[in-house]
Symmetry: C2
Subunit: 230 residues, 2 copies
DNA sequence: CGGCATCCATTTTGATACTG
DNA sequence: CAGTATCAAAATGGATGCCG
């Protein structure tokens, strides 16, 4: 019984990290932020984790009450994992980490970096600007490669989910690599649309709202000050 | 050369965790959020890290540009570590983790939990309510055991630092255990003051503002749903 | 498919001893 | 005090294999 390791500090941050601070754990949460996922899909998204460690992490999260097992609605009717309320409430923390990463760490993809559209959807969500969204209530559909995500803006909040969930005001279609470039800020949405790499269908005025609501306020700087370097 | 381990994902969250996701790293950042610290003070606050690992983490953070070495102003004039701009910008993420922990994970101190007043100051800061703070510009002093912290509210933002930094509107004095209980929500400030465990000096009307600005919106629930437990 | 159990090569970590 | 050096104990990562 490898009695769980703890920082042993009476500190809110440390206690949180006692629960979600181990390797892979926050990425499992990230995967589940957009809805229930099956074991094999989690394993596929988390290249390198191995089924054993993934199983251990899920069991841990279940025991601490952040994740629960569920059964997908028919016709699927298969088992899956989803976040509990406590788990879902980690979203602000994950989004804060994502905002930092967008500004300071993301840059251009490294050779061999994996990519899944869902990550870009969460990046968009991280850029959500509540002030610009006030009074707006509409949904956006992202069709990237084979996957569909919906994002709904309502009451000054966003929620994004894997799969079709609402009647979209706007539908954005593209391949993964273009979507990746747009969500990371390398490529402007307008630019991508003009060059035909992205197709936008639906209410034209919603495009302008969309761009304001998910505006990139930070032009992405890089620190990477190699200390020892010359 | 143990070529740094990476998740290998083109995802803002994963890239952030590539940099700050290792054990102890975010706690080092947490310690530095309230100002520069010396090596030995970091080691003392982070019981269990060991000087070797602390050194390695600091070197890593220096290389990635989140931390830099500095010299404390005279008369101290000794070396210390402080956050760079990139490092300081992790504050929202650390605060988000702290808010989650305050609600879901903190509870009562476990036997053997370490505690430092600075952690409670950060917990208060995590509860900061910008809406209530609009138009307010004042500073609070916390004298806990031997340590002094100042928190300044201005322009809808807070900043807290280790040591005296501003002219305080209010001075709160108590021992560590009382301060811990108040910051964690176990004990109401009013209550602690009435029973004499905390002394409040300064502008009386500032006490009411203080309580609103750092109000605990979440009454602290606990998940801990043991899955396997009979 | 949906996992858990096992084995093993590497990394990370934790604790202490040691040096400038 | 500020770290390095060292070594034992854990955690991770792959690869299988197994079973319902």
């Amino acid at each position: 019984m490898p009695q769980k390791r703890s920082y042993g500090q009476y500190c809110a941050t440390a206690k949180t990290l006692d629960i979600v601070g181990e390797r892979w754990t926050l990425l499992v949460i990230r995967e589940l932020l957009t809805g229930p996922r099956r074991f094999k899909d989690l394993a596929a998204s988390l290249r390198g984790i191995g089924t054993g460690l993934l199983g251990a992490r899920l069991r841990q999260l279940e025991e601490t009450g952040l994740v629960r097992r569920t059964t997908l609605p028919p016709p699927a009717s298969v088992g899956a994992y989803e976040l509990t309320e406590a788990g879902r409430e980690l979203e602000p923390a994950v989004m804060a980490l994502a905002r930092w990463g967008l500004k300071w760490a993301l840059g251009k993809p490294a050779r061999g970096d994996a990519f899944h559209p869902g990550w870009a959807v969460l990046a968009l969500q991280a850029l959500f600007n509540p002030a610009e969204a006030s009074g707006i209530r509409e949904s956006y559909e992202f069709r990237v490669d084979d996957e569909v995500f919906h994002a709904r803006v309502d009451g000054g909040q966003v929620q994004s989910v894997h799969g079709a969930a609402w009647e979209p005001t706007l539908t954005v279609t593209s391949n993964g690599s273009t979507f990746r470039a747009v969500a990371s800020g390398e490529l402007a949405l307008e630019e991508a649309a003009r060059s035909g790499r992205i197709t936008i269908a639906g209410d034209r005025s919603a495009v302008r709202r969309f761009e304001k609501i998910f505006a990139r306020p930070t032009p992405a700087k890089l620190p990477a000050v190699r200390a020892g370097a010359a």
